[in-house]
């Protein structure tokens, strides 16, 4: 069983706007640059939950068709803004029967750790991974 393939996300102000709209999140810090600067940030901030979506996407694509997501957690460590290049990686850390635990990370273009996470996937019995 291989580790997930890394994914690279480059969030834009357009993506942040649509994510705020889709979650009905009115917080100015995600779409008003002047407000974000007033709070001391260089630009509008990627939503905490969108970071979560980036990390879980690594797991979703890896598990594609051969398992179900049972647990997922993430912690925001450092903010990200549009223009950042966010690389999300995952590693298998434990296999217990059908349960696979993965550790996840998101780092920016300066190798700064932005998000950590973990996931537990229950493999389905008809998986074609040669077990």
């Amino acid at each position: 069983m291989n580790d997930p393939s890394p994914l690279v996300f480059e969030p834009t102000t357009l993506q942040l706007f649509r994510f705020s709209a889709a979650t009905w999140n009115p917080h100015l810090i995600h779409y008003d640059r002047a407000y974000a600067r007033m709070e001391g940030y260089p630009d509008v901030l990627v939503q905490s939950h969108l970071h979560g979506c980036f990390l879980v996407e690594v797991v979703r694509r890896w598990a594609d068709g051969r398992g179900e997501l049972r647990r997922f957690s993430w912690r925001n460590r450092h903010f990200a803004t549009p223009g950042d290049v966010l690389t999300c990686t995952g590693h298998i850390v434990e296999v217990d029967g059908d349960l696979v635990t993965l550790e996840l990370e998101e780092r920016n273009q300066d190798d700064r750790l932005c998000v950590t996470g973990s996931a537990v996937v229950a493999l389905t019995s008809n998986g074609e991974d040669g077990r």
Binding site: R18, I29, H49
Partner: protein, 149 residues
């Protein structure tokens, strides 16, 4: 401001509030998946339930705080003048939510901590949220900490 909020929060520890959120609409789940950059997401995305901030129309603009936010993160806790940050979630997926399901949310303040950081007082509000469908099926449990400053 934060110490007063801490006292108010402490009185809410262990208190559970249940509210009907609404029906999971297909279009809303599809828009979420597109905005999240998710590929091949036929059902609701796993983070959909715990990411949506407003299930209702919400208050008019005149009732939003200057940063655009509204009350409601913590039922019974007014957050005027406080900056609230989410810092991640712990999610357990029990049953996948289905489009058309009527979702009820039970929010419990599980703990609250007051910490003094370099930039002043910080309040850590730990919540447990349980999302269930109308027939009582537990869908998702979300544990989340908000930092208020």
């Amino acid at each position: 401001m934060i110490p007063e909020l801490y006292e108010k929060c402490r009185s809410l520890v262990g208190v559970s509030t249940t509210e009907y959120l609404g029906r999971i609409e297909l279009l809303a789940t599809q828009r979420f998946a597109v905005a999240a950059g998710a590929v091949q997401c036929p059902g609701p995305h796993p983070l959909f339930l715990s990411s949506v901030m407003g299930w209702r129309a919400g208050p008019p603009e005149s009732e939003l705080y200057p940063d655009g936010t509204a009350d409601g993160f913590v039922p019974g806790l007014p957050l005027s003048g406080v900056r609230l940050m989410g810092a991640g979630q712990d999610l357990e997926f029990h049953e996948p939510p289905r489009v058309g399901a009527d979702v009820t949310l039970e929010t419990t303040v599980s703990d609250v901590e007051l910490k003094t950081g370099r930039s002043g007082d910080l309040l850590f509000i730990h919540l447990r949220r349980r999302y269930t469908s109308a027939d009582g099926t537990l869908l998702t449990t979300c544990r989340e900490t908000f930092i208020a400053r």
